[in-house]
Symmetry: none
DNA sequence: CCAAGTTGTCTATGATACTAGACAACTTGA
DNA sequence: TCAAGTTGTCTAGTATCATAGACAACTTGG
């Protein structure tokens, strides 16, 4: 493909548009592996470097993701994540037709700092369970969360979460049938090295940081969390009214 | 105006598209004088030479005409395209005093889908020749067409079209002296990236989509086509009675 | 472990895009 | 006639676009 009589549109842009169209048309679906750079270059009659430019532009926009040695894959579209008083990760992901999954990274004992104590309605220094977990949709990491619970109210919470792989089912194990979201604070930042590895994100990528506390139906704090979402994989929906 | 975060679209093309849009929208009419090159350069925050490049591209396509010492004037007029039982692109364009031209993009083998088989009076799966071609008037692309013919009735149709550059002359080669238009269906849509590049149209522009079948004098289907016209360069005339 | 296939990075070259400034050639209206 | 405004042409420098080849780094399957 030669620059179409110098049309004013860069070759790499035409290639990028072609690939994006293939994704939009369903010729490639989320998770699919694209043809190799060489193959794309041949089908468009273009140099491999031009294809790389096109793929870089798509990767920049989070539409594809290159894996060295393996291939380039179609990124899932952003997960629509409504922020309501009832927010359950597994329900939200399931409602999008994707497979929710939770994975325990570690569960440790901890002591309440002043902030944690205030959020949870406990005394400073009260024993807590701290759960570091990762949540996925269709095997793509969406967020890592640090969750704190009272160690007295939820003894052995780490093992239970590890077994159930769901915060909701873990609370059910302790007889909590329902809960609701209290305050939610949202900020943004840059991923650190630890979270980057856990989220399978390149360094320097933006994250959405959510601090939230869940309450039981009487308004008593149950758990408080500090979650970091891969910004390019999720879109928060705030419902007005 | 700097290259918009390196969008892959040349600055002069953005300026040219802007001016062309102004003409299409009626902000400038045929015969009007455009603002001076300096003024255009200022409104687009661009060097005067870039404006000259844009105007040169428009002049090349016969849309504007520059007069030294005086100004640049709008030339554009839509191609009047009558829809009759006898529709020959080259005749229609020639009748407007413009130079018709055809160009083969590709010719491939194909198999009849149910719809194509019905249109052509063939069996599903019958071998077809699929011709992708572009038609121009005075070097301005007017439409791209996908044409299907029976591979058995017209063997090697792709090469013949490539050589004759005319559908009419191609059919003459197979002994078809005359044909007439059967059903014609017209819809509209937005140009996709591939057609945009072929029609030299900015993305997002409207197209006229025409599906039609040509019959021989006994009413037997010869070819069926799916054509996309640049809406801003053509005006269909339907003759009543 | 190895071979094949993949993406990542480097260097290099030529063409094109964009900016900048200057001046020539021409038209228009006062 | 003259001044102002217009398009046409030239030189020059910087950045981007596109091609080309080579090799490194990595993954996958046998």
């Amino acid at each position: 493909m030669q620059d179409t009589a110098s049309s004013g549109v860069a070759l790499w842009r035409l290639v990028a548009d072609g690939i994006e169209r293939g994704i939009a048309d369903g010729r490639f679906s989320a998770g699919d592996k694209l043809p190799g750079e060489m193959e794309i270059a041949e089908t468009y009659r273009v140099n491999r470097h031009t294809v790389r430019r096109a793929l870089a532009a798509l990767a920049e926009r989070g539409i594809v993701r290159a894996e060295r040695g393996s291939g380039t894959y179609v990124e899932a579209q952003k997960l629509a994540y409504p922020l309501r008083s009832r927010t359950r990760f597994s329900e939200i992901v399931g409602a999008e037709g994707r497979e929710p999954q939770g994975r325990l990274i570690e569960a440790t004992d901890d002591l309440a700092t002043r902030e944690l104590a205030r959020e949870l309605g406990l005394k400073v220094g009260a024993p807590l369970v701290r759960i570091e977990a990762i949540r996925l949709a269709d095997r793509t990491p969406i967020c890592v969360s640090t969750t704190w619970l009272s160690a007295e109210q939820f003894p052995g919470a780490g093992e239970v979460f590890s077994a159930t792989r769901s915060m909701t089912r873990m609370l059910e194990h302790y007889g909590i049938r329902d809960y609701r979201r209290g305050a939610t604070r949202i900020t943004a930042g840059i991923v650190d090295a630890t979270d980057a590895a856990r989220l399978d994100l390149p360094l320097g990528r933006p994250i959405l940081v959510v601090d939230a506390t869940d309450l039981n139906l009487e308004g008593k704090p149950l758990v408080t969390k500090h979650s970091r979402f891969a910004a390019e994989r999720v879109e928060f929906l705030v419902e007005n009214g």
